[in-house]
């Protein structure tokens, strides 16, 4: 049932020394970069185009197209986004910690293809071990000639700087990340005009790629874009790293060929999630991170496919799948997610700053017994004032997409579990409290 595609980004993570240069070189490390330097810039770009590699950060924008939009300027930058901070998302964490050289090699290939001489890895500050290993790996890469002047004797030079984030989720948003990298508050910029490809870091054209996205590059260069595109179907090519959490027997990360595997496989297959606990049934699951609308059991047979999930009204997003069984209070789940977004709002624009806090207070009041029937409509209307229409893909009254991420869980809970929410009102609190 599960495809036999070989892992691409997690091929080494089972080895204890996967993070060392020695271990990396012994497993084909930096072959991709050497190959890229032989192929030349244009050919590398052609391979990435052929691979039709989608960005792995959440928005799923084709990496090749993103590269082609980079503005021409004397100075351009590449920034690798490793600020993964969302609850239930832990794929970049793995890659940074277990295979830092792969991140560096991927970044270097990207920089080479883009003609960039300065790259940054903005890495979540809480990845203590990851940062330690990434920093050591950068030093090793410089010593090895894979970074710095004349990489592997070519005329290509690249400096790579590791920048630890200071603990704000919003800095994972690419323009907030650039502000933070510039030493300012992590306030997202308004697009347009601040598309990073046009006006990015220090005002220069900048490509921002996710850690997982660049981690795919060494493989693509070594094996060719066509081999990558042969995996998966349609626009969802290659493999993807999924972070499975919640009420499953085997939570964790799984690198799976895209589209070929369904959510049912991921959650229930004994080699993957392994199903729910004895006697439990599936209530709902989040297909792509806590900012995505929820799915119910009826969507279990959807493939892990960007397009299909999008059509069904949610997103594959960051590849984090959260499973909720029938013991879950959906109101409490929505409240906890809303609390996260409320606390992580940058505070810059009104609907998200104030709306997040207000929604959280209403949800908590419902959960704790002070709910009113009209609160359900109020929740939906306040959501509508952040994301008009409360539809998918969302519209927004805010600068960045953190705002319209808030309504996802709330609207899912209200729409899918209206009766359960009304039960909270009627019973003066959570009806499941005793059951747990």
């Amino acid at each position: 049932m599960i495809t036999d595609a070989a892992p691409i980004v997690t091929a080494r993570v089972g080895h204890d020394d996967s993070h060392t240069l020695e271990g990396y070189l012994a497993t084909g490390g930096y072959e991709g970069l050497r190959r890229a330097l032989e192929l030349g810039r244009d050919q590398v770009r052609a391979e990435v185009d052929a691979a039709s590699l989608l960005g792995r950060g959440g928005a799923g924008f084709p990496a090749g197209r993103k590269w082609s939009m980079l503005g021409r300027a004397d100075v351009t930058y590449l920034v690798v986004n490793g600020d993964e901070s969302e609850p239930a998302t832990f794929k970049d964490h793995l890659l940074v910690e277990r295979d830092p050289h792969q991140v560096i090699e991927g970044a270097t290939i990207a920089a080479y293809a883009l003609g960039v001489a300065q790259a940054f890895v903005f890495c979540r500050g809480e990845f203590a071990l990851g940062l330690e290993r990434l920093t050591a790996a950068v030093n090793e890469a410089y010593a090895h000639g894979a970074l710095g002047r004349s990489i592997f004797g070519s005329d290509f030079s690249l400096d790579l700087v590791i920048h630890p984030g200071a603990g704000a989720y919003i800095c994972g948003e690419e323009t907030a990340l650039l502000e933070s990298l510039e030493g300012k508050r992590g306030f997202p910029r308004i697009k347009p005009p601040y598309f990073p490809a046009a006006i990015g870091l220090y005002g220069a054209p900048t490509v921002v790629n996710n850690v997982e996205t660049v981690s795919n590059l060494p493989w693509i260069v070594r094996h060719g874009g066509a081999a990558f595109a042969a995996l998966g179907t349609g626009s969802s090519t290659g493999t993807r790293l999924f972070a499975l959490s919640g009420h499953v027997r085997r939570p964790g990360w799984y690198e799976l060929e895209m589209s070929k595997v369904t959510f049912r496989d991921l959650i229930f297959d004994p080699s993957l999630g392994g199903g729910l606990a004895e006697g439990r049934s599936l209530k709902a699951f989040i297909p792509g991170g806590v900012s995505a609308p929820w799915f119910g059991p009826e969507q279990l047979d959807l493939g892990l496919d960007q397009e299909a999930v999008g059509k069904a009204g949610s997103m594959l997003g960051s590849g984090s799948v959260v499973v909720m069984d029938d013991s879950t209070c959906v109101l409490r789940a929505a409240w906890r997610i809303t609390r996260f977004f409320h606390r992580e709002s940058c505070g810059q624009c009104t609907p998200c700053r104030e709306g997040g806090g207000w929604l959280e207070k209403i949800l908590r009041r419902l959960e704790e017994g002070g709910g009113r029937e009209e609160d359900l409509d109020l929740l939906m209307d306040a959501c509508d004032n952040i994301a008009p229409g409360v539809s998918w893909p969302p519209q927004q009254t805010t600068i960045c997409v953190l705002g319209p991420s808030i309504p996802s869980s709330i609207a899912s809970a209200v729409r899918m579990f209206r009766d359960e929410l009304l039960l909270h009102v009627k019973e003066g609190g959570c009806p499941l409290r005793g059951a747990r």
């Binding site: 940058c346 624009c349 009104t350 609907p351 104030e354 709306g355 806090g357 004032n385």
Partner: protein, 903 residues
């Protein structure tokens, strides 16, 4: 440079609108690059807003101005303060979707807002309150507990922060960073816990802090002097001009129950663009403190009140006796606090009745009047759009704060090139201006090196590469125009009281000779010093920028006989007084005992003169020493006009009544003339103003009637005939209706400047009292000829050359009388290079003795790397009776060399 000169009648040219957009179904012509909110507003459609401010870059954060804007993918909600107009664009500001978004944002804004309107100073003039009514949902659905914080927080002695009321629009933080260049406040924390905060142990001490209060759209920032002072509906207001310094910012003065309570900046495009400095903003407090309220006669150690008829009789008696004794037996000192009309009346009284040309509005702390009046004059707009601005003045941030603000913004934001020539680094070079130094006394030598044809020689105090860079900058900018120097603006002032003024006159003459196209912005600081000079309160100068000899025939036909000889300037005048050569010294609001750079000379003069008559609004050191004191009305207590450093004449208006029996100074002149059996030819402000227009050549076309028209609220730059009316870049002509609440006049400010019929030049309006002048109008003063600069004495190896600068909050009368400003005075220090203190074995902050030709003072030493090793830098007017300030060392003209010793 989008500069338009308008001669005779006609409207100013605006850039032709070329983009057509549809706003709420109506086709609108917009300027390319204009923001949608601005285009909508010009079309009469008000979009609600909080973070948008027309004088700052848009940020689009409050989201209140969301409207539907058409784009390639149909309509979407976009912030109209951020999106710029595009041809064919369609905008819906009040569609169902737009209204829902606006109401939604407003409801969100009120979620954590305390709604304490009844006890909030902003209540009644609050954009949040107003827009909650016009664009809000009308009812609340919020039943949760609001966010609570300790409040208010004193973030500076002048500003209080109420974090609960704050709606995080970032207007204040952006002002501090973007406009003032002092990012002393910023956001801390995030989400709905975000708050405006100062940095640890650094208060919001900015000369411009009051602007944040004015632009705060809620009651989050309040000004200490205005807290709970009035309710907006109890305020009365007039639009007028601030005369705290010579920039001439347009303001509204507001009173409640007959008492001044607040100044607000008005968006006068060519001048202050809505900003004010705190000294100007809160200086009105001085009106209420330490006033002379009745005519007074010296009695023993104090004064006794007398009645006006008695006072006039006594003063007139003294003056009459002096005038009878011969020409030049009376000296008239001061005038910078007067209106133009006051100054004209006193200039006429002095020349025709008192028979003296010993008049001087400056206290030996400025520049020769002929230099100021004779050089081609620039406007502030010309300066900020110049190819190069050269500053040869005191620190503008300390002396002319809003001029500094305009130049800083142009420098930091718009790429204006600025060359700062200064002995001690000033604020503009800290903001990125190129700087070249010089040793006090060597300024003309520096300018010679910058402009001369020959390879520059060594300039003391300047490093060679600095001179070469500055020379190159100046040469490049000077070559850009049709006339050499066109597009170069020189800000010329008097940076150092311990250095002769003549050096700056020589430097200016050299610059003019080398760059005939360059224009000058004279950086004299005192309130209406420019009006006083313009009105002839300077020796050898008659009203309207005319020399005594050149104007003799014209003025004798208008006024009658004039004194035969050119009079003395302040210093010589006081020396004559000290020598017993004067019978009466009239002080027109001047306080030479505290203000003259050489206070000992002032003391000797006041002792040596027959009698001292003070026309004074306040009891200061000199009025307290006068035999006779006549109470004068102060700012906001009388009407008239004032002239700023550009030569711009604007109206000042009366808002409150003067205390006691104080009179406007011009009526005192009229009454004294009458008491002496003479007639000045005017007995009301209108005829006085008309006479100025008719007689004073630089004032042709400018009188109170013309200035009172809405289109001329920003004033007229004199002389109209010589330069036309210079209309600056008519920037965004949009005045934020929520920025300056309640000022009806500000919307009219956008009216194009029209030079109407009253400015039909050369005409002689009929029916005005007084003799009409005959003959041809005298020419205006021309630029002074350049001479070979004098050389300064060499500095010996044991001495430091003294720099005496100024600071915004000093012991001047008005600051001292303002309860909010007086405590902000800095400590008096002497700043030297750290190596000087090391050599002495003195630590930073410890007292040292500074010895100079005029004596010795003790000051706290302050180590400052920015000060050259051969300089000692101190600030004038910070001393007290017990602890004399640095000016007690100033004797003679300087330069002055001092020695530092341990105590």
């Amino acid at each position: 440079m989008s500069e338009t000169a308008v001669g005779g009648a006609g409207a100013s040219a605006e850039e032709a609108p070329t983009v057509s957009v549809t706003i709420d179904g109506v086709a609108v012509s917009a300027r390319p690059g204009e923001l949608v909110i601005e285009a909508a507003e010009r079309a009469g459609v008000f979009v609600p807003r909080f973070c948008y401010h027309p004088r700052m870059d848009p940020v689009g954060v409050c989201r209140m101005c969301l409207v539907e804007i058409s784009g390639p993918r149909g309509f979407s909600l976009q912030p109209s303060c951020y999106v710029r107009v595009a041809d064919g664009q369609e905008v819906r500001t009040s569609s169902e979707k737009a209204r829902k978004a606006q109401e939604g944002v407003l409801e969100f804004l009120l979620v954590n807002h305390p709604l304490d309107c009844p006890v909030c100073d902003k209540g009644g003039e609050c954009p949040l309150q107003d827009q909650a009514l016009t664009h809000g949902p009308g009812d609340t659905r919020f039943v949760e507990e609001k966010r609570h914080w300790a409040k208010p927080i004193e973030i500076s002695p002048l500003v209080y922060l109420d974090r609960e009321r704050c709606i995080q629009c970032s207007r204040c933080t952006r002002f501090a960073d973007e406009v003032a260049g002092e990012a002393l406040i910023d956001f801390a924390f995030r989400g709905d816990a975000i708050e405006v905060a100062t940095f640890p142990s650094r208060p919001f001490s900015s000369y411009f802090s009051g602007n944040t209060v004015q632009i705060c759209p809620v009651g989050a920032l309040t000004a200490a002097p205005y807290r709970f002072a009035s309710r907006p509906w109890d305020l009365e207001q007039v639009e007028t001009t601030c005369t705290s310094c010579a920039v001439g910012c347009r303001i509204v003065a507001q009173s409640s129950a007959g008492k001044l309570v607040r100044y607000l900046g008005v968006d006068a495009d060519p001048v202050n663009q809505s900003w004010l400095c705190d000294r100007g903003r809160y200086g009105f407090e001085a009106n209420g403190e330490g006033r002379v309220s009745s005519p007074s006669r010296r009695k023993g150690e104090g004064h006794e009140a007398i009645r006006w008829p008695e006072a006039l009789r006594q003063v007139a008696g003294a003056l009459q006796a002096a005038a009878a004794a011969g020409e030049g037996r009376v000296g008239v000192l001061g005038g910078a606090r007067l209106t133009n009309e006051d100054a004209y009346a006193w200039a006429k009284l002095a020349r025709t009745v008192l028979r003296t040309d010993h008049v001087d509005a400056q206290l030996d702390d400025g520049l020769p009047a002929a230099t100021v009046l004779g050089l081609p004059r620039a406007t502030i707009d010309e300066a900020v759009h110049a190819r190069l601005v050269v500053t040869l003045a005191g620190d503008l941030r300390e002396e002319l704060p809003v001029l500094y603000l305009r130049l800083r913004r142009a420098l930091a934001h718009d790429g204006l090139a600025v060359l700062e020539c200064s002995s001690v680094p000033q604020a503009l070079s800290a903001e990125g201006a190129t700087r070249v130094g010089y040793l006090p006394g060597e300024v003309a030598r520096l300018v010679g090196a910058l402009t001369g044809d020959a390879e520059p020689g060594e300039v003391p105090g300047a490093d060679r590469s600095g001179v070469v860079t500055a020379r190159r900058m100046l040469a490049a900018a000077a070559a850009g125009g049709a006339t050499r120097g066109e597009g170069v603006v020189v800000v010329l002032g008097r940076p150092n009281l311990a250095e002769p003024a003549v050096g700056y006159a020589e430097a200016a003459a050299l610059l003019h000779a080398a760059l005939p196209g360059a224009r000058f912005l004279p950086a004299l600081r005192r309130g209406n010093v420019h009006g006083a000079l313009e009105m002839g309160l300077a020796p050898g100068v008659l009203p309207g920028r005319v020399g005594l000899e050149e104007g003799r025939a014209w003025y004798e036909s208008a006024w009658g006989n004039l004194p035969g000889a050119t009079g003395r300037g302040a210093r010589e005048l006081l020396e004559a007084a000290a020598a017993g050569e004067l019978d009466v010294l009239v002080l027109l609001g001047a306080d030479p005992l505290a203000d003259l750079p050489d206070p000992d000379l002032a003391r000797r003069a006041l002792e040596g003169v027959g009698s001292v008559v003070a026309v004074a609004s306040h009891w200061d050191a000199s009025s307290s020493a006068a035999q006779l004191v006549l109470p004068a009305a102060a700012a906001d207590e009388r009407s008239g006009s004032t002239t700023n450093l550009e030569g711009r004449v604007t109206r000042v208006a009366q808002k409150v009544v003067p205390p006691g029996t104080a009179w406007p100074a011009w009526t005192i002149a009229v009454a004294l003339a009458a008491e002496m059996g003479d007639d000045l030819g005017f007995d009301n402000l209108e005829t006085l103003s008309a006479e100025i227009e008719r007689v004073a050549p630089s004032q042709r076309g400018i009188d109170l009637d013309v200035l009172g028209r809405p289109a001329h609220r920003d004033g007229l730059v004199a002389p109209i005939a010589a330069v036309g009316v210079r209309v600056g870049r008519r920037g965004p002509r949009l005045i934020d209706p929520i920025a300056t609440p309640g000022i009806a006049s500000v919307e009219e400010q956008g009216a194009p400047l029209v030079v109407g019929d009253a400015v039909a030049l050369g005409g002689q309006p009929a029916g005005i009292a007084g003799a009409g002048p005959t003959g041809s109008r005298p020419p205006l003063l021309g630029p002074p000829a350049s001479s070979v600069p004098a050389t300064a004495p060499r500095l010996d190896a044991y001495s430091l050359r003294l720099v005496v600068g100024r600071t915004l909050y000093d012991r001047g009368t008005l600051v001292a009388a303002s309860p909010s400003l007086a405590p902000l005075r800095p400590e008096a220090t002497v700043r030297v290079h750290p190596s000087v203190l090391e050599r002495l074995g003195v630590r930073d902050g410890e007292p040292v003795r500074v010895t100079g030709p005029g004596g010795a003072v003790e000051l706290a030493a302050s180590a400052d790397e920015a000060v050259a090793r051969d300089l000692a830098v101190a600030t004038a007017r910070l001393g007290t009776g017990e602890r004399p300030g640095i000016e007690s060392l100033v004797a003679g003209e300087g330069p002055i060399d001092v020695r530092l010793e341990t105590i």
